[in-house]
């Protein structure tokens, strides 16, 4: 820095403004400002700007930034995703829609459930009322029933015995327990698979029956429509003949 402060030395003026000058340099600037009105006004104005700058406050916000381990679930992480459409429909509306679908399906299939001495009888289709000879479909006993029911009963008994034994002994060795658990789980898995297969078979049977009924009904409806159209065609032909007769009669020259 030169011994004398000059008016164009803005870097020194800024250092003076921010009080980052050593004492000697500061004295030189002070001396200059006493003699130079322009530099004094400049420094005064810039100091005023600094005061005004203090008015600009950043918003007082809570960021709540927290670093968490990757394998731990984020405590309050907010992930913004578009809501699925079914989340925008109220629960009651969804329930009403489900009931409506079931009701319409049952009405289309004309599902009838009756209880009698033979147990529950489920019938579907529209032809049963007109064709009295058709007996309602009786749900047959599941074919695989005989296979899995005794096994299920045996398993239940086994489980009851095991629970009773546990209560009596109080403790069970971990190794034997795991073996029993594995065997039980295997049995349960087999039974579940058998049950699932049976249900699928029943569902396929019902669907086939339903489709058959619908086809029969559709054919009957088509036949009725064709008959109606044929009847209408005869009427139209008669009207056309009458019209032709009237036209011919009206075109006969008058004498």
């Amino acid at each position: 820095m030169s011994l004398m402060f000059t008016c164009d030395d803005k870097a020194t003026l800024v250092a003076y403004l921010y009080d980052e000058l050593d004492a000697q340099a500061r004295l030189r600037v002070d001396e200059h400002l006493r003699q130079c009105a322009a530099c004094a006004a400049d420094v005064g104005a810039l100091a005023g700007v600094r005061i005004e700058l203090t008015q600009w406050a950043a918003p007082n916000v809570e960021l709540g930034v927290t670093v968490v381990r990757e394998d731990a679930p984020p405590p309050s992480a907010t992930v913004l995703r578009p809501a699925p459409w079914w989340n925008t429909v109220p629960v009651w509306a969804q329930a009403v829609a489900a009931i409506l679908v079931l009701a319409v399906s049952a009405a289309i299939a004309n599902v009838q459930v009756k209880s009698g001495p033979e147990g529950f009888v489920v019938s579907t289709g529209w032809m049963t009322s007109t064709a009295g000879s058709v007996a309602p479909a009786v749900v047959p006993a599941p074919a695989g029933d005989a296979q899995w029911r005794p096994a299920l009963i045996a398993l239940e008994q086994k489980l009851r015995d095991g629970i009773r034994a546990n209560k009596e002994t109080g403790t069970v060795r971990a190794a034997s327990r795991s073996e029993v658990d594995n065997a039980t789980m295997a049995r349960v898995r087999v039974l579940l698979e058998a049950s699932e297969t049976k249900q699928n078979r029943e569902l396929a049977f019902r669907m086939t029956q339903l489709m058959g009924d619908i086809n029969v009904q559709r054919r009957a409806d088509l036949l009725r429509v064709e008959q109606a159209i044929g009847h209408t065609g005869v009427e139209v032909a008669k009207q056309r003949q009458q019209l032709n007769y009237v036209i011919r009669a009206s075109t006969v020259p008058h004498e």
Binding site: G44, L46, A47, L53
Partner: protein, 184 residues
């Protein structure tokens, strides 16, 4: 790892507000400033093993934040827009401050804040950043020069030019009451 996270969270607690304020004043958008602040701490945490203490932790954080701000400005290719946060309510602010400041004073100060912010967005990025670091974060010329990667004299020039532009802007807004006084 968990201990590192806990220790780092203490630092976050200490520095989240200054880093957010820096980002807000440099880029001028509340939401984006939040994002920059969060990203700053995320990057700092990832780079923490490489931080050997050769610089002050605050300077290191400022550098990360300023780089992110620079990226944001470059990516958006737009000047900062001064935007008050949506939840800023003058009445609530006055209530928070108690009887010390009246609502009229607060409104006037809010207006002043807006005018200053508008003036700041007139400045080039380098001048605005230099003024923010100096005025609101109290960094020395040398620290600003290190952060901005420029000579000391350039920092002083940026400050002088920036303050001069702000002075003209404030005068154009009818604020000429700061013609007196000397730097302390």
């Amino acid at each position: 790892m968990a201990g590192d996270a806990e220790s780092f969270n203490q630092l976050v607690l200490r520095w989240e507000r200054p880093i957010y304020a820096l980002a807000y004043r440099v880029i001028g958008r509340d939401e984006d400033a939040r994002d920059v602040a969060q990203e700053t701490f995320l990057r700092a945490f990832r780079a923490l093993p490489g931080f050997k203490g050769q610089a002050k932790f605050s300077s290191w954080l400022y550098r990360i934040a300023l780089n992110l701000c620079r990226d944001w400005i470059r990516r958006k290719k737009r000047t900062p827009v001064v935007q008050m946060p949506e939840d800023m309510d003058v009445i609530e602010m006055a209530a928070d401050r108690g009887p010390v400041e009246s609502i009229e004073d607060l409104v006037a100060r809010n207006e002043m804040s807006r005018i200053v912010a508008e003036g700041m967005k007139l400045l080039p990025d380098e001048q605005r950043t230099a003024i923010v670091l100096k005025e609101y974060h109290g960094l020395t010329f040398q620290e600003i020069a290190d952060l901005q990667g420029c000579p000391l004299s350039t920092v002083k020039t940026r400050l002088y030019q920036g303050l001069s532009v702000l002075r003209k802007h404030l005068e154009s807004q009818g604020m000429t009451s700061f013609a007196s006084g000397r730097a302390s």
